[in-house]
């Protein structure tokens, strides 16, 4: 049985749901504690005391005002003393920091894990390779192991009751590397929609939508309470902002329903959505590779099919 320290991901003082996927991983391998670092950590701790953690550790410090790896890694590594496994979210937050923590702990780092197996106390991790076209099972040979956990593969942990004790931990001293990086700003996309990684339905559009990307997709997304995603081609052409990109670069999603509209289905895009429960593809090219992974394919012009789809959905509501 392993002792895991889960590193919570905070956004504007709230715990991101991806953290609960890392908790679900930790519960599979043994006992665990959670660490929250950064502004709002103390207040957000209450969100995580009901999941069966041995302890909920918090660290708020003036030096940790921004999510910079050079500042967070020393404090996280210090708090990780005594744990066997340190688990991050497989997000841009976790992937930025986890390797630095691994280096400090002399630990091996298995990124983006999709499953875990324990054989006689020895952990083995399944992780995607070749843009999701293969999976490798690997073991980490060091006494301490660092992992990042895919939200799309580990269902969020459910509250299990109880009240884990909250304990403050000290921040590590600021090092030279941290003194040489300066936070300038975060430009976060403001959206009323659910987060791409958490949405039950994702409506995704490709380059074929051209300047009508939002005009065509938003009414459908509104109707289904969906998040909006995009292919690389749509982002590169400027039809959709980069943060909507789904794929090997961008977000990895696994919603209940993924609707690919005017997306041809490049390997790099499939890497980000192939785990979706049900995939619908609408494309006028009957040979588009997206149809090879789609449960339901409709060969049609999207500019007539999408409004028609909205109409049918409204009719049947």
């Amino acid at each position: 049985m392993s002792q895991t320290l889960v590193i919570a991901e905070l956004a504007e003082g709230k715990v991101r749901k991806s953290t609960l996927s890392a908790v679900a991983f930790a519960k599979q391998v043994g006992a665990f504690s959670v660490l929250l670092v950064g502004p709002g950590a103390k207040a957000a701790a209450a969100e995580l005391t009901g999941f069966g953690a041995a302890k909920v550790l918090v660290c708020e410090d003036g030096a940790l005002a921004h999510p910079l790896a050079e500042r967070l890694a020393p404090t996280i590594a210090q708090a990780a003393k005594g744990f066997d496994v340190v688990a991050f979210t497989a997000s841009s937050f976790g992937k930025d920091i986890a390797p630095r923590v691994a280096a400090r702990l002399g630990a091996g780092y298995a990124s983006d894990i999709a499953a875990v197996k324990a054989d006689g106390g020895k952990l083995s991790y399944k992780r995607p390779m070749f843009a999701g076209n293969a999976y490798g099972w690997c073991s980490v040979t060091t006494p301490v192991q660092v992992v990042s956990v895919r939200q799309s593969e580990f269902a969020a942990a459910e509250p299990s009751g109880g009240a884990s004790p909250v304990e403050a931990v000290a921040a590590a001293p600021v090092e030279e590397a941290a003194a040489r990086v300066e936070f300038v700003r975060i430009e976060a996309a403001k959206s009323e929609r659910p987060d791409l990684g958490e949405a039950r339905v994702v409506i995704s559009g490709g380059r074929a939508l051209k300047e009508k990307f939002s005009e065509v997709l938003e009414p459908l997304a509104n109707l289904l309470g969906a998040a909006i995603g995009a292919s690389r081609a749509a982002c590169d052409a400027g039809y959709a902002p980069p943060e909507l990109q789904v794929g090997q670069t961008g977000r990895v999603v696994a919603p209940q329903l993924y609707v690919a509209i005017g997306i041809s289905g490049a390997i790099q895009h499939l890497a980000g959505m192939k785990g979706s429960k049900v995939i619908v593809a609408i494309n006028k090219d009957p040979d588009a590779p997206i149809f090879q992974v789609a449960d339901y394919g409709l060969v049609a012009d999207l500019f007539t099919a999408v409004p028609e789809l909205i109409g049918e959905l409204k009719k049947s509501q």
Binding site: G108, A177, E243, L257
Partner: protein, 275 residues
Amino acid sequence: MKILVPLKRVADPDNANKVKITPAKIETTGLEFKPNPFDEYAVETALRLTENAANTKQRLGEVVVVTFGPKDTETTLRAALATGADRAIRVDATDDALDGDLVARALKSIVDKEKPDLVLLGKQEVEGDANQVGQLLAEYLGWPQATFAGSIKSEGDKALVVGREIDGGSMVVKVTLPAVVTVDLRIVNPHGAKSMHTKPDHAYPEGVRFAALMAIMAAKKKPLVEMKLSELASDAALKIQYTAFEPPPARKAGVKVKTVGELVQKLKTEAKVIP
């Protein structure tokens, strides 16, 4: 500015779905070798940061490319030299004797010798998709890092302002050199990366530059040295060991629907994903 660019060759990423998977191995036989796309973007970025776009013939810095691999990976290095890199290093090794941590430790030794101002590399290598060498190297060096860079502006060659692509938006940081920067795909946009010498409004062609025939010939004469892994990393133990491989879960064959009405019907009654 002196820039070190670690790069790797990979099996053609646009045909990654053609790999053959056995429990013991992922076979890439039959797939052409290509430079790892993110590393190729790093080379392009390094070239942009060491030139004035108005006169790219004149080098205003040095770009040293390094790879880990057998003799035939020198082709990948020569291709980078042909597009403009100045020198190359090949560390003799095979993939199965390497992991991200060992590569990062060996790179640290090279950095200690070469003393670059910047290490610029792809955010991940698209075979292992591990996304860790840059961050590990930064920690081993005690340097700042800027990962997933979508834009870089050089500030007087002493600092870089880097736009990082993060989930749900972007984050801008300023790193004082020396530093490690890992690049994402949008770095090779027309305004992705520019040196202090290039006019701020200059628009580069989209993507990476190609080598002219003359440059390919000239690249054969550029310096390329070989190093031994054992000289760079005293401990060759791997921290990650693969024990088995498997294909991704197969999706059941889908159906083509004829009309939007049929699609909605199936989503409601068969897939039950909409109310």
